[in-house]
């Protein structure tokens, strides 16, 4: 259980963060660049000192301004995976991995060397120096190094942001297996919605130093008041769905969700599993009659619930098709079709635009 309340003034920038999160699972600390995410986890790690508040992990106070408690970083038992890896350049991979592990007594170790090495697939790298590693390998070693200190909480600061697309795909599966296999709570800082959707169970939404909302992903992501904070037009509707057919004769994956079945280009998922997909607002168009003879496979009928105007050119339409689905059309189209709340419409989703985080 992580229980955090902290305030810190950095020049004109004020951080005011308060949230709780569960015993296990991944909590995403999500927000645009400059929202104060890294500052918050630096304070959790003890690398920075809050002005006031408290930080508790499993009821242990790591910091409490009122009780004058402030454990130094080395006493906090918190693993930290930095954005840039920060492997020690003068030590081999093996020495990097065991640097923190050796400082933990045998009785307190619950993460063992061999399982971590095999989970991360780094056994062939042990004798190398960090500069001989690729970006993805470095990040995997950095994850292993933090994990091997048997921490009670693992902090990850955008561990994938310095990697290219292929490397991301290489590291992502390891992270999603981590919290399950070692039952460590993870706080995962990111500004990429797709990463968050793919990895996290809970989300803490930050903006300009403040925590705006916190809760389970499904509850937070479809709140229209948080729409712009979730990335605005880059965002979309987030839908949880179960895999009905993973690969049909046309190479499509069929996903069942409360609004029906959506067909998308093949995803790397197995039948029966649950995935979160993201439907970008711009790839949803609207028709008043049920379209026939169209290339679009995914057509859902629903009732318009809300129309918001992000600017003078566009209209964001929220349609209830069993779950909320957002569509962005021009204000001209909206007025031509006389779209108003309460009206029943048909929403058409382009299959090719749907993503599930791992294929952005």
């Amino acid at each position: 259980m992580i229980d955090i309340k902290l305030r810190k003034k950095q020049g004109a920038f004020k951080i005011n963060a308060e949230f709780k999160s569960g015993v296990t699972g991944v909590t995403a600390l999500f927000g645009q660049s400059g929202a104060g995410k890294t500052s918050v986890i630096n304070m959790i790690a003890g690398l920075d000192i809050p002005d006031s508040g408290y930080i508790r992990v499993n009821q242990n106070p790591l910091f409490d301004a009122q009780k004058h408690i402030n454990l130094p970083p080395q006493k906090r038992k918190i693993g930290y995976v930095f954005q840039d890896g920060r492997l020690f350049p003068h030590l081999t991979v093996k020495q990097n991995l065991s640097y923190g592990m050796r400082l933990v007594s045998q009785q307190e170790r619950y993460v063992m060397f061999d399982p971590v090495i095999s989970l991360l697939g780094i056994s062939h790298l042990l004798s190398r120096l960090p500069r001989k590693l690729s970006g993805g390998e470095k990040q995997r070693v950095a994850i292993g190094r933090a994990l091997l200190t048997s921490p009670s909480l693992l902090l990850m600061d955008e561990p994938l942001s310095s990697l290219d697309h292929l490397r991301k795909k290489e590291v992502m599966p390891f992270i999603s297996r981590l919290s399950k296999e070692f039952s460590i709570p993870i706080i995962y800082v990111s500004h990429s919605l797709d990463e968050v959707l793919n990895l996290a169970d809970h989300i803490v939404l930050m903006d300009e130093g403040n925590v705006i909302a916190a809760g389970s992903i499904d509850a937070i992501v479809n709140r229209s008041d948080l729409f712009s904070l979730m990335g605005g037009q880059d965002c979309g509707s987030i839908i949880s769905a179960t895999v009905e057919t993973d690969n049909d004769a046309y190479g499509l994956t069929h996903l069942r969700f409360p609004g029906g079945v959506i067909k998308v280009p093949r995803l790397a998922v197995s039948k029966g599993s649950t995935v979160r997909i993201r439907i970008p607002v711009r790839s949803v168009s609207i028709s008043l009659v049920k379209p026939a003879d169209t290339s679009i496979q995914n057509i859902f009928s629903g009732v318009i619930e809300e129309i918001s105007l992000p600017d003078s050119t566009f209209s964001d339409i929220r349609i209830n098709i069993g779950v909320p689905l957002f569509s962005r059309i021009t204000r001209l189209s909206q007025e031509k079709l006389c779209l108003t709340p309460g009206k029943t419409v048909f929403a058409m989703v382009k299959s090719i635009a749907v993503t599930n985080g791992s294929n952005d």
């Binding site: 970083p73 038992k77 920060r86 350049p89 003068h90 923190g100 400082l103 120096l129 470095k138 200190t149």
Partner: protein, 232 residues
């Protein structure tokens, strides 16, 4: 003319030079690392004054430094008199004084090179070590210090070479006593003052060049053993 058979006086000067330079380096390395670290990592009032004092020997005439050392560390000096009275110990007109003079003169070069290497150590690596459970001392000895080694070696070579060449402060502070304070440059100077001393002077000149070259090659060899650390 024989450039290869050294007279006993010349050999004594060579031995003394190496001895004095070694001790100059030995006594200045620990404080050099500490002061370089303070200058690189700490902020405090009066930092620029400390910085200025460390660098004074670089800009003052060496004779002035020698004179100041005499005033402070001489047998009747501020600190020297106390040392002599209570410990019966004096550095004035001994090889220890020559080593002290060399150490003071070489100190700024040593500190500058080491400070530069500390500036190049990413504090992020030190923070990473903290989160892995290492206290400040362990971080210094396992992360900061090993990453400083190329700079420390460079500083040591520079300081050693500077010590070998020390003349002004040494002759002012501890005079030119054969077998005690007459180092290579002093012996060379003395030989130039006497008739028929040219051959000896040339021998000492050549040996100076040889030692300097050896020191440079040595430093390059050593630095190669510590491959350019890239940010990990």
């Amino acid at each position: 003319m024989n450039y290869f058979s050294f007279s006993p006086v010349e050999l004594e000067a060579l031995r003394l030079s190496l001895w004095v330079s070694f001790w100059a380096l030995f006594i200045s390395l620990p404080p050099g690392i500490i002061i370089a670290w303070i200058l690189a990592r700490m902020e405090f009032p009066g930092k620029s004054i400390l910085n200025g004092m460390i660098h004074l020997p670089l800009v003052l005439p060496p004779v002035v430094i020698g004179y100041l050392l005499l005033v402070v560390m001489g047998r009747k000096g501020l600190i020297g008199s106390i040392l002599y009275e209570y410990l019966g110990f004096s550095v004035a007109f001994t090889w220890k004084g020559a080593a002290l003079a060399s150490a003071v003169m070489a100190f700024p070069l040593l500190v500058r090179a080491i400070k530069l290497s500390i500036d190049n150590v990413d504090p992020g690596l030190e923070n990473a070590a903290r989160t892995l459970g290492a206290g400040p001392m362990r971080v210094f000895f396992t992360i900061t210090l090993p990453l400083m080694i190329p700079g420390i070696i460079t500083g040591m070579i520079l300081a050693f070479a500077r010590s070998l060449g020390e003349f002004g402060a040494t002759i002012t502070f501890v005079s030119n006593i054969q077998g005690e304070t007459q180092t290579l440059p002093l012996a060379l100077y003395t030989l130039m003052q006497v008739p028929n001393g040219e051959t000896g002077a040339m021998r000492l000149c050549l040996i100076s060049i040889l030692i300097a070259m050896a020191a440079l090659v040595c430093s390059q060899r050593l630095e190669k053993r510590f491959p350019g650390y890239v940010k990990g």
